[in-house]
């Protein structure tokens, strides 16, 4: 198990390095001068002297490999550089906002699993029945509603019309736990609708497939009760594809909470990213993309470990 984890870890570190290099190269090799782009607001050509001054300040006049080594060295020390706009250290802003996004994604994943898994099992056990058809149709609908449409309509109905909840925002947990959770639940629930539908679909298909396997029939031949068969011979075996799919979606959610954070005014990492993209703040965009990609890789690493926990064959292979 330890050797397995160590192998996976080495691969993951290599991947993060590759992503960091790739992001660096994309930013620096794409035609167009970042300094010029940054200064050319509103289509007016910027003052060449100002561009030159900015290029100097950003180190853009140094040879590319020097810039690369500087950047990588900074990353190793946990230094992502300064933002162009107001020169705040990027790593501080990320450290402030990242936990909020992780909290949002985690809560959404949890809600999706809590509903998706049992409903998927229930639908599969009565495949073709009324409940199954209802849930399957519901999941199809849930998958078709864009997350920002759902969020906006939630705000419209719950906050504007019924005045049940605030329209959005953020309160630190330490200041007001109840309000914090209330404000968390709306965006998390919005994300969880689509994600839960995905979990439901995968779980349903997976259970149907496992039910047909020989070892289920063999357990039946031993006289094991239906509850025992489902618990020991179906659920755990059916869970592997769900783990894969949920991890994949949580990974894309790390960058995909943008819309929901925007709708509910949740001050997470995504909002920071959108702001950076709007103001074309290269160091900021690079830093955020890198952090999210690294998390993505970390998530995949954790999923591999989870496989090993679920399936002894992976552990020993």
């Amino acid at each position: 198990m330890l050797a397995f984890a160590a192998r996976r870890l080495i691969v993951s570190v290599g991947l993060v390095w590759a992503v960091a290099s790739l992001v660096f190269l994309v930013i620096h090799l794409i035609p167009g001068d970042p300094a010029e782009l940054l200064l050319s607001q509103g289509g007016i050509a910027p003052d060449p002297a100002a561009v030159e001054e900015l290029r100097d300040r950003l180190g853009l006049n140094l040879p590319l490999w020097t810039q690369y080594l500087d950047y990588m060295g900074g990353l190793l020390r946990g230094d992502f550089g300064l933002a162009l706009q107001d020169e705040h250290p990027i790593v501080d802003e990320i450290a402030l906002r990242l936990p909020r996004t992780l909290e949002l994604v985690g809560a959404a994943g949890l809600i999706a699993l809590v509903f998706g898994v049992p409903l998927g099992v229930a639908a599969a056990l009565r495949a073709g029945g009324m409940l199954d058809r209802l849930l399957t149709a519901g999941a199809g609908l849930a998958l078709s509603v864009p997350v920002f449409v759902l969020g906006t309509l939630t705000v419209l109905v719950l906050a504007q019309h019924l005045r049940l909840v605030p329209a959005g925002g953020y309160v630190p947990f330490a200041r007001d736990p109840g309000r914090h959770i209330l404000l968390l639940l709306m965006p998390a629930g919005t994300i969880a609708v689509g994600l839960g539908a995905v979990v439901f679909r995968v779980m349903r298909a997976s259970v149907l497939e496992v039910l047909e396997r020989d070892h289920v029939r063999a357990a039946q031949a031993r006289g094991v009760s239906p509850a025992g068969i489902i618990r020991r011979h179906v659920l755990r075996n059916a869970l592997t594809p769900v783990v894969t799919v949920v991890a994949l979606h949580l990974g894309s959610l790390l960058g995909g909470t943008v819309l929901v954070e925007f709708v509910f005014n949740w001050p997470g990492l995504s909002g920071y990213l959108v702001r950076s993209v709007e103001s074309r703040d290269y160091p900021e965009v690079m830093g955020i993309v890198l952090v999210i990609s690294a998390l993505f890789v970390l998530l995949n690493f954790l999923v591999d470990l989870l496989y090993a926990v679920i399936d002894p064959r992976v552990r020993h292979g």
Partner: protein, 616 residues
């Protein structure tokens, strides 16, 4: 079935066509200019001129919705088409040439999949600035790897087909093979992928536009309209409603179209019944209580499966009997119904198979005879693994790979009320079936054991509660020849140890029958064609099929090995007379007309042949 699947395409297909037609026809429809502002009438409700009202700049909402469809769909379609073109090309090249080309095409494209999609789109927008061109560019990058993967996988499997290899051998040019052979073959999965991509591209486009990073105002786009309407949410909630409805509805139609398309193109794995262990749903008419069996008595068992032209009888009128301590072998080719007969006794028939007539009487451990076909599922479950047990053909798939061996053997005990000393009993059972180091084996996972050892585990679980009846469905077929003999010897030894246990042994191997069975029933095309004491039947068969089987067995007494010509008839195309007549060397005109009955040909022997006397 397939026709029904195509019929399902009509509704989403028509709806999608309407949406696309509206978008195409936008310039020639009598619509108000979607960007003409009318600030004086901003946020006015529906009127005769403005059916859906006016937005925050007084622009006509209906017109903007229809023009918005045009923008959203053209971005989504262009992006999906570009992605399809690039991705398919990369996938085909990678799949056809493999090696370095594969690395440069498919694997390179997959790097994109390492980034969260929206993040990558935002990165592109940072570099190129917002606008429809940027959108199409970033969406094609995002979706091309999906096409590359599909095309790659399909090309790999098509490439291996014989006729592609043949073309290559005949000297056809690579480009020609790719264009004329590979492409048409991979077209269907690509169509499904394309409709999926259009829906996904619409979602992303509208999302980016909603953030203000996609389509540039004042061009109408559903995402932008929702963005604009949010500000006026309190005064004019309907303004928010229309673009939301248009967007959700279109994506829903596209997703539905995609699902139905997949069903129509790939009809596998559609309708499935409920699993049997939740309770079976057939009801059989009661029979006047049949005579108490020695141990097991199957009378007139008939099993049906639904077919396109009405139900098909896969097992017809099968009768068998077994006394305590006896071994009955059921012999026949694949498709003869021997396995289904065994599963019917256990009540483990697949959901599609229904018993429609007959009875299966079993004398339980308590000495009470019961009709298994008419027993409610909970009572049947109590018998399974206690009074009767079964071992299966493939021990590798019959054990749950995620559970320890000991846990699975213990299930037999726990399911029937043993809760004390389970571990010791499990170890004793594993020792009894001849596993070396049973303590360790109990803690092992199935993949750590060999095939023969796994079958020993299955046998241990089966005999845990000293069953009266042991059903063995080809228990040695999946094993090495040397291991087969060991397993047979083990079964023999266990039968002697468990006094009075009867065994039904399903096999296609006559050598095994000679070695292990007291009685034998030969099945052909769902019927018993001959039945009797094993040594008598093997020495002097009274049915041409039995004779032919013996002649085709290497260990048989025949001078020359002969195969039986032809194949078992399909269950929906049974010959009207004797089912074996088309393959029978002794068939006469009468055989193809009259279906022979099972006749007693000697004491305790029966055969289903018009000419059995001539075989004597």
């Amino acid at each position: 079935m397939r026709r029904a699947a195509y019929r399902g395409l009509i509704l989403p297909g028509v709806l999608a066509a309407i949406i696309v037609l509206l978008a195409i026809a936008a310039p020639i429809m009598p619509l108000i200019d979607p960007v003409r502002q009318d600030i004086a009438h901003r946020l006015t409700g529906p009127s005769a001129q403005h059916w859906l009202g006016q937005d925050e700049y007084g622009r006509d909402v209906l017109s903007r919705i229809i023009w918005g469809a045009r923008v959203s769909l053209s971005v989504a379609f262009s992006a999906a088409a570009a992605a399809a073109l690039i991705g398919t090309l990369l996938g085909i090249l990678g799949g056809y040439f493999r090696g370095v080309v594969e690395l440069l095409t498919v694997r390179a494209a997959e790097i994109v999949l390492c980034f969260p999609p929206l993040l990558l789109a935002l990165l592109v927008v940072t570099l190129l600035g917002p606008g429809a061109g940027t959108l199409i560019f970033s969406l094609s990058i995002l979706f091309a790897p999906g096409f590359a993967r599909v095309a790659y996988a399909e090309t790999l499997s098509t490439r291996a087909l014989d006729y592609v290899t043949a073309q290559h051998a005949l000297g056809a040019r690579t480009r020609r093979i790719l264009a004329l052979t590979v492409l048409p073959n991979i077209a269907t999965p690509l169509i499904v992928q394309f409709s999926l991509t259009v829906a996904a591209a619409m979602l992303l486009e509208s999302g980016l536009s909603f953030l203000g990073l996609g389509v540039v105002p004042p061009a109408p786009s559903w995402g932008l309209m929702i963005r604009g309407a949010r500000g006026a949410m309190e005064q004019a909630p309907l303004l928010l409603f229309w673009p939301c409805l248009a967007l959700t509805g279109t994506v829903l139609v596209l997703n539905l179209l995609c699902d139905r398309l997949r069903d129509a193109l790939d009809p596998r794995g559609r309708a499935m019944g409920r699993p049997g262990f939740l309770g079976r749903v057939f009801a059989l008419p009661p029979v006047p209580s049949p005579p108490a069996p020695g141990l097991l008595s199957v009378q007139g068992l008939t099993l049906q499966v639904p077919g396109p032209n009405g139900p098909i009888e896969v097992v017809r009128g099968v009768s068998l009997s077994l006394a305590p301590g006896e071994t009955l072998a059921i012999v026949g080719e694949s498709g003869s119904g021997k396995t289904l007969t065994g599963l019917a006794v256990m009540g483990l028939l697949p959901a599609a198979v229904t018993p429609v007539a007959g009875s299966i009487m079993l004398t339980g451990q308590d000495g009470m005879p019961r009709d298994l076909l008419r027993l409610p599922e909970p009572e049947l479950r109590a018998l399974r693994g206690r009074d009767m047990a079964m071992i299966f053909q493939d021990p590798s798939s019959s054990l749950n790979p995620l559970l320890r061996i000991g846990t699975q053997v213990a299930e037999s005990l726990r399911a029937h009320g043993t809760h004390d000393g389970v571990h010791d009993r499990v170890v004793a059972l594993l020792r009894q079936v001849g596993l070396p180091d049973p303590e360790r084996a109990a803690m092992a996972y199935p993949h750590e054991l060999s095939g023969g050892q796994r079958q020993r585990v299955m046998i241990a679980a089966a005999i845990a509660n000293h069953p009266r009846l042991l059903l063995a469905d080809e228990p040695t077929t999946a094993l090495d020849v040397t291991v087969q003999a060991q397993i047979l010897a083990l079964l023999q030894a266990l039968k002697e140890a468990e006094g009075g246990m009867g065994m039904v042994f399903v096999t296609h191997n006559l050598a095994v029958v000679a070695e292990i069975a007291d009685r034998v029933a030969v099945m052909y095309a769902g019927e018993v064609v001959e039945e009797g004491p094993a040594d008598e039947v093997l020495a002097a068969p009274r049915h041409p099929y039995t004779a032919a089987l013996i002649a085709s067995t290497p260990e048989g007494e025949a001078e020359r090995l002969s195969a039986i010509p032809g194949a078992v008839p399909q269950p929906w195309a049974m010959p009207p007379g004797c089912r074996f007549a088309p393959r029978c060397a002794m068939a006469q005109p009468a055989c193809t007309v009259t279906a022979p009955a099972l006749e007693e040909v000697a004491p305790r022997r029966a055969a289903r042949c018009l000419r059995w006397r001539e075989l004597a």
